[in-house]
Amino acid sequence: MSLTSAHSVVAPSVVSKRVAGTIIVLYALISIVPLLWIFATSFKTPPDSIAYPPKILFQPSLEGYCNLFSTRTRQTPEYINSLGPATGVCDETVRKRNMVIAGPSNFMPRFVNSLIIAFGSTFCAVFLGTLSAYGFSRFKVPLADDLLFFILSTRMMPPIAVAIPIYLMYRELGLSDTALGMILLYTAVNVSLAVWLLKGFIDEIPREYEEAAMIDGYTRLQAFWRTVLPQATTGIAATAIFCLIFAWNEYAFAALLTSGTAQTAPPFIPTIIGEGGQDWPAVAAGTTIFLVPILVFTILLRKQLLRGITFGAVRK
């Protein structure tokens, strides 16, 4: 850096780069160890999973995944020997433990519930959020600041603080243990975040674009659709990820309001423990599969996510 450019941002020195790099690597390692442990456990046998000292190296097994997707009954060795040859890997693994597969477990339906509820509520929150944010950004809304603050204020207490009233209301309205009820709830929680994030993104899009389109013969809605939305995709993607992560991971409301048909994966996974012992590999397998959608989504949209996180920090 020359002395003449006193006001320019000085490039980081090699030392500071190394220090920063080391800190980031350490932090990443610390964060990833539990995930790796879960991933490893999902491929252990139940005895290996509770072995002490813990086994770092082990013979991988699909038992956790088999147990996750099935329900099993214990049988006598005589009965098992009387059966024909095993029909698959899982059948074989289970028979070694003197059990036979009785049917599929509830994991798949719960996982599908999670997908429907998380993506459904994300879509609703982003849809409503985009329209409201556009309205707040472009029109003179009476008491706009107060309304925006009110929307933000819904995030100021932990949502679970209103769990009891919502539980009672849902019971009255027949929304308990329904996918619709969960979608509405997660949408309500996420829409404030969506409005605020998206308003920032839409504010950055000059209104000249819509004005040009409206002068050129388009209605406001057409102008919004053709000129604003395509330019807001980054913001919409970032907002969608935040909403999705919340709805996907949410545990407390799901545990409280869903128990049967609409139960999501987070409250389901712990219930695996107890169905015939502490089956840690099955729990770990459930968790591993549960992580996949978010992982894929985040990797696909990582650029937008980064932009969303640093939003406001970097102005053009």
């Binding site: 013969g217 388009y218 057409q222």
Partner: protein, 375 residues
């Protein structure tokens, strides 16, 4: 193409009045420039003509039709924005064709019209490029293309050259005027740059604080400023003012400024005693040791063909534009001779110009050819 008639137009944002009681007519095929400092109401006026803002009062007629409260898309006008507003997610071809798409024109016809327009603007080689890679000048041409492709009733331009660098700006001023001469589209052009206004306009309206201070040809505005604001805003350096007192009577052709008698164009109205100002363009000053109006050289600014000389007089600094050859040193005493037929007189209180013989000359409206290039 159509005539634009604006009648008693007014726009208030709460207590702030952005435009008050503006009235003017832009003739069919005229290039009209609204000129003024930022915040003078010129852009607001333009946006009301476009339909992007609704007026608080008054009327707007396009081609004789009252469009005051109509939506922008129902007015059949085109708008060129300062920041071009080219859609970054579309290439040049799609940007230019976008207004035609709104009309539901078939694809083949759009293609044809877009290519014609691109040829006219000499950007046909850029049609399949992304707009983000274009230079400022080319972006401007694409924005113009999007405006003319639809053949609207009139063009509205909001400081379209404001973001270009000087070199490009001069080029685009020339191109815009040339384009106008070819297609004769009624154009309303907003700018704060007097050079742009003077070199392109058929008619100029100079605005300040929401009021049109003067409406006329560039020549009228430069030679016969209607108010002190116009005299000060137009010209570089602007008109000099020398204060003097006392009234004026009809027929007078001499005033006394700083103890010196100065011949002025014959006064055509009676003015009660008040604070007055004599307005002198820098190029209407000569150095003449015989003159009673004296001052000391304060500084010079060498411009090559001419030089701007600041002279300190008892009434303040006066700037004169004199030939570059004259050698001057700071502190030298000089006499100032003024071109008596070109001077303006103003009432200081209202800023209004006093009617004199300079207002007698025939007014040539629409005279845009053959004007000398100032600068």
């Amino acid at each position: 193409m159509a005539e634009i008639r604006v009648e008693h137009l007014r726009k208030a944002f709460g207590d702030f009045v952005a435009v008050q009681d503006s009235s003017f007519v832009v003739g069919d095929g005229e290039f009209f420039v609204m000129l003024g400092p930022s915040g003078c109401g010129k852009t607001t006026t333009l946006r009301m003509i476009a339909g992007l803002e609704l007026p608080t009062g008054g009327k707007i007629l396009l081609g004789g039709e009252d469009v005051t409260m109509r939506r922008a898309r129902e007015r059949d006008i085109a708008f060129v924005f300062q920041l071009f507003a080219l859609y970054p997610h579309m290439n040049v071809r799609k940007n230019i064709g976008f207004p035609l798409l709104a009309q539901g024109m078939p694809g083949i016809e759009i293609r044809q019209r877009v290519e014609e327009t691109a040829k006219l603007l000499r950007i046909d080689h850029l049609l399949n490029k992304s707009v983000s890679g274009l230079s400022g000048g080319d972006r401007q041409r694409v924005a113009l293309g999007r405006a003319i492709v639809r053949r609207p009733k009139c063009f509205l331009m909001d400081e379209p050259l404001g973001t270009l660098d000087t070199e490009f700006r001069d080029l685009m001023v020339h191109e815009l005027r040339e384009l106008h001469n070819r297609i004769h589209a009624t154009t309303v052009y907003v700018t704060h740059d007097q050079m742009e206004a003077m070199s392109m306009a058929d008619k100029i309206a100079v605005m300040n604080h929401g009021v049109i201070e003067q409406f006329g040809t560039p020549r009228e505005i430069y030679d016969r400023p209607a108010t002190m604001f116009v005299a000060d805003f137009i010209g570089s350096p602007p008109m000099n003012f020398l204060g003097f007192g006392g009234g004026l009577s009809k027929g007078a052709s001499e005033i006394v400024v700083q103890g010196a008698k100065v011949a002025v164009p014959e006064v055509r109205e009676d003015i009660a005693p008040a604070d007055m100002a004599l307005g002198i363009r820098p190029e209407h000053i000569r150095f003449d040791d015989g003159s009673k109006l004296r001052g000391a050289i304060y500084g010079t600014e060498y411009l090559g063909t001419t030089q701007i000389v600041a002279v300190e007089t008892s009434g303040g600094i006066i700037k004169a534009r004199v030939p570059a050859e004259i050698r001057l040193n700071p502190g030298d005493q000089v006499g100032l001779a003024l071109s008596s037929t070109r001077l303006s007189l103003f009432e200081k209180g209202s800023g209004r110009a006093v009617r004199t013989a300079i207002h007698d000359t025939v007014i040539h409206h629409g005279a845009s050819q053959g004007r000398a290039h100032r600068g």
